[in-house]
């Protein structure tokens, strides 16, 4: 079963993401900030991380940089999911090693397509 770590300080966002991801067949873990996410990854690396930017303790971008600095941390696909939607933030996320970027608010279709784009959901050709 594919695994997804949802990292967001909003319980509501984590709940919405979990509902969509479970319907797509993912096993979902949750983390409320970047440090908790790094701790989760140290225990078991997920296939994909849905990552908010602005969070207490360790931000999303810092979490990504620390993750990608490790050998095991290069493996998971990382999809940023944030309301910071200007080109500078997107460029910084891509430079830090993000694979995709969702501009909040998001819905089922957007999340599904981004998972497709990183090769973790089935391609719907028609």
């Amino acid at each position: 079963m594919k695994t997804c770590l949802v990292v967001d300080d909003s319980g509501l966002v984590r709940k919405i993401a979990r509902r969509i991801l479970e319907r797509l067949g993912f096993l979902v873990e949750e983390a409320a900030d970047g440090q908790i996410a790094l701790d989760c990854c140290a225990k078991a690396m997920p296939d994909v991380i849905l990552l908010d930017w602005e969070m207490p303790n360790v931000s999303g971008i810092e979490c990504l940089r620390r993750l990608r600095a490790t050998e095991a941390g290069k493996a998971p696909k990382v999809i940023f999911c944030t309301s910071l939607n200007d080109m500078e933030h997107i460029a910084a996320a891509l430079e830090a090693g993000a694979d995709e970027y969702i501009m909040k608010p998001f819905d089922d279709d957007i999340l599904h397509e981004k998972l497709e784009a990183v090769g973790l959901a089935e391609k719907d050709l028609l």
Binding site: M87, E100, I110, E113, A117, L125, L126
Partner: protein, 284 residues
């Protein structure tokens, strides 16, 4: 609520003006699309709107009704398969068949707010090796002035640019202007837009190598569909390609086109094999 007699009138009006076929079960669609016009033109109810159309007193309102009913959702790279066919089959086939220097002409016959023609332009820029230095002309047409204005502006909200398109492509071909994402100039200048009604003669448009006519034939009755397909066939080169929507088919609608085997949305003119060379990688 729209009365039965007004519904019948709107159906006749739309059929006559745009060829749009409104079946008996489209009350909700009609009401939801026309309700904003009641507010916009300060009309008390649908009967008043019908009365304005009947007496022909306002060309603006008549046009707004047609536009409201014929505007459809479009996404960048909608359905994916036609765009894969475009780069894998259509462009290599046509490039091999055409003499150097002859440009390729592509018609997006229901361009709506521009996502489809811009998707094709982006693919051409992403795959420069497919057609070398050959020029390509993309014409986007639509019945609605309102959507064509949006298409020309090339500005989309974040929901529209996130569906169907990866973030790398977004950053490469769009720039953020306020809250909207604007198609960059190299993409925009590849597409020309014109207002055009598919019920009119295609003579002014010239000949095309590829025609995208997706998700618009579903609104026409069978004879009108057959007529439009026959005229598209005459506007298409004998070795050209027609792309229809995923829910559309040419089966049982005249004999101008036949499906291209193993390509679900792509069709070719029904001409003899001697005229039509096999597409790249295909035996037909």
């Amino acid at each position: 609520m729209i009365s039965a007699s007004d519904y019948e009138f709107f159906s006749r009006f739309l059929k006559q003006r745009s060829g749009l076929l409104l079946t008996d079960d489209k009350h909700y669609l009609l009401e939801s699309r026309l309700m904003p016009l009641l507010r916009k033109f300060d009309l008390a109810d649908f009967s008043k709107l019908a009365a304005v159309l009947k007496d022909g007193s306002s060309a603006i309102i008549s046009s707004a009704v047609v536009e409201a009913m014929t505007t459809n959702e479009t996404l960048f790279f909608r359905d994916k398969a036609p765009f894969e066919d475009f780069t894998r089959t259509m462009l290599p086939t046509l490039h091999a068949a055409r003499p150097a220097g002859q440009k390729l002409r592509i018609w997006c016959a229901a361009a709506s707010s521009g996502q489809e023609p811009y998707s094709l332009a982006i693919l051409l820029l992403e795959n420069p090796g497919l057609i070398g230095r050959r020029d390509v002309e993309i014409i986007g047409t639509d019945l609605s002035n309102e959507v064509l204005e949006r298409a020309r502006a090339g500005r989309y909200n974040q929901f529209e640019v996130q569906r169907g398109m990866g973030v790398q492509m977004l950053m490469k071909y769009f720039t953020k202007v306020g809250d909207l994402w604007e198609v960059k100039e190299p993409v925009r200048k590849m597409v020309q837009y014109r207002k055009f009604n598919l019920l009119e003669s295609f003579a002014s448009l010239g000949t095309f190598d590829i025609v995208f006519c997706r998700n618009v034939l579903i609104y026409f009755d069978a004879p009108t569909k057959a007529d439009i397909l026959a005229r598209i066939a005459r506007a298409l080169t004998p070795d050209g390609f027609l792309v229809l929507g995923a829910a559309e088919t040419v089966i049982g609608v005249g004999d101008a086109f036949k499906p291209l085997p193993q390509h679900r949305c792509t069709y070719v003119p029904n001409v003899t094999p001697a005229v039509r060379p096999a597409p790249v990688g295909m035996k037909i």
